[in-house]
Amino acid sequence: MEEKVVKSVIPIYAIGIIWVIYSLIFSMYTIGNLITASIICLIGYVVISNIIPDKTIMVEKIITPVNTGNELANQYINNGYKSAKEISKISKKLKNTNIASQVLYIESTLNKILDFITKYPDKARTLRTFMDYYLPTTIKLLNNYEHLNSQGLSGENIDVALNKIDNVMHVMTEAFTKQLDSLFEDKTLDILAEVSVLKDILKREGLTSSDTNINIKEIDKMGDSNGYIK
């Protein structure tokens, strides 16, 4: 799902209403009155459009085939968006269930992962297990949950299965989060390296004041002995 800003249709209807009111007062068989009515309607449209705010609605993301230049990345992205769409459909059906918020979170995280891979297709190789096993299994479990939930029954077997899926979804949300976080590992290393180089140059040039030293110390605290963020 993605946010889409849509203009209100009220200003369009206002044109029709203004036109009808005008035509009840003035004769509409003259070109002069037609032009005047058009101008008044246009002004009315602009004024009412400014008064009535645009609406933001959630719409399904339109999937267009992506070509990143990396075949594996293309495959993961295109399949991934299809999976996201499927999760979105399941999410609608599970609106009032215990796992609704987790499903939404998983969908949102998956979209972020796919957006990342679109930008950095080389990272696709690190997603092999995630895309080939975790994602399809998650969808399978969600489909099962939806199927069992739609029975509208409360039996021993159904309740156990639903609880199990509910529990595993907590784990899956964490797994999705960690998967997204792991994608930023290289980026983090790059940032730390840049900070370290900057710090060295500043020291060498004697450009660090006491305040800057404090800041550099604070930056140092962020990384461990290997330069990784703590």
Partner: protein, 182 residues
């Protein structure tokens, strides 16, 4: 209600509103304008009180009086009064201003003709004088008609019908131009 929130639906409904108001309300305005033209012919207006129809009715009245007097001297279907009878009938059956103009002129001509032939009927002097007064009256009524603003009003209406968008509205609504008295 969701369909009303659709932009395309809103545009279609608005366009229908606009077209309907042009063709229905605009068309009614044109019909009303034509009705004013007819009122001018039938009754006259406050601004232009001369009514052609009322003068035609007077001419018809005078023609009937002439016929009544004539029948004292000749048979109902005598050829001397037959053209007058036909002219009266034609004028009574005339449906529009153009036809009324044509048959009024014919009737006036027949009145003059019968008046000129009054001596053939061996009429009394009183009736001859009455015939002459009828001719004078009819001429006078015809002159009043010529002062009517009807043709001006009808021409203005017809001009309006030739302009856009009245030409299209009149085509759709079947509004025809007004007949000219002439």
């Amino acid at each position: 209600m969701a369909i009303l929130n659709n932009k395309i639906t809103a545009i279609i409904i608005t366009v229908l509103f606009i077209l309907m108001s042009i063709f229905i309300i605009g068309g009614n305005n044109l019909i009303s304008l034509k009705s004013n033209v007819n009122t001018q012919f039938e009754e006259g207006t406050y601004a232009s009180p001369v009514s052609i129809q009322s003068q035609i009715d007077r001419i018809l009245g005078q023609a009937n009086n002439m016929l009544l007097i004539s029948r004292r001297y000749v048979d109902n279907e005598d050829e001397i009064i037959l053209p007058l009878i036909i002219a009266i009938e034609n004028l009574n059956n005339a449906e529009n201003a153009q036809e009324k103009y044509k048959y009024t002129n014919e009737l006036v001509a027949e009145i003059e003709s019968l008046n000129n032939q009054a001596h053939i009927l061996n009429m009394s002097e009183r009736d001859i004088n009455y015939f002459q007064s009828i001719e004078v009256n009819v001429t006078s009524y015809n002159r009043i008609i010529s002062n009517s603003d009807y043709n001006l009003v009808a021409t203005n209406f017809n001009n309006e019908l030739t302009k856009f968008p009245a030409n299209i509205i009149s085509l759709v609504r079947g509004i025809k131009p007004a007949y000219i008295y002439g």
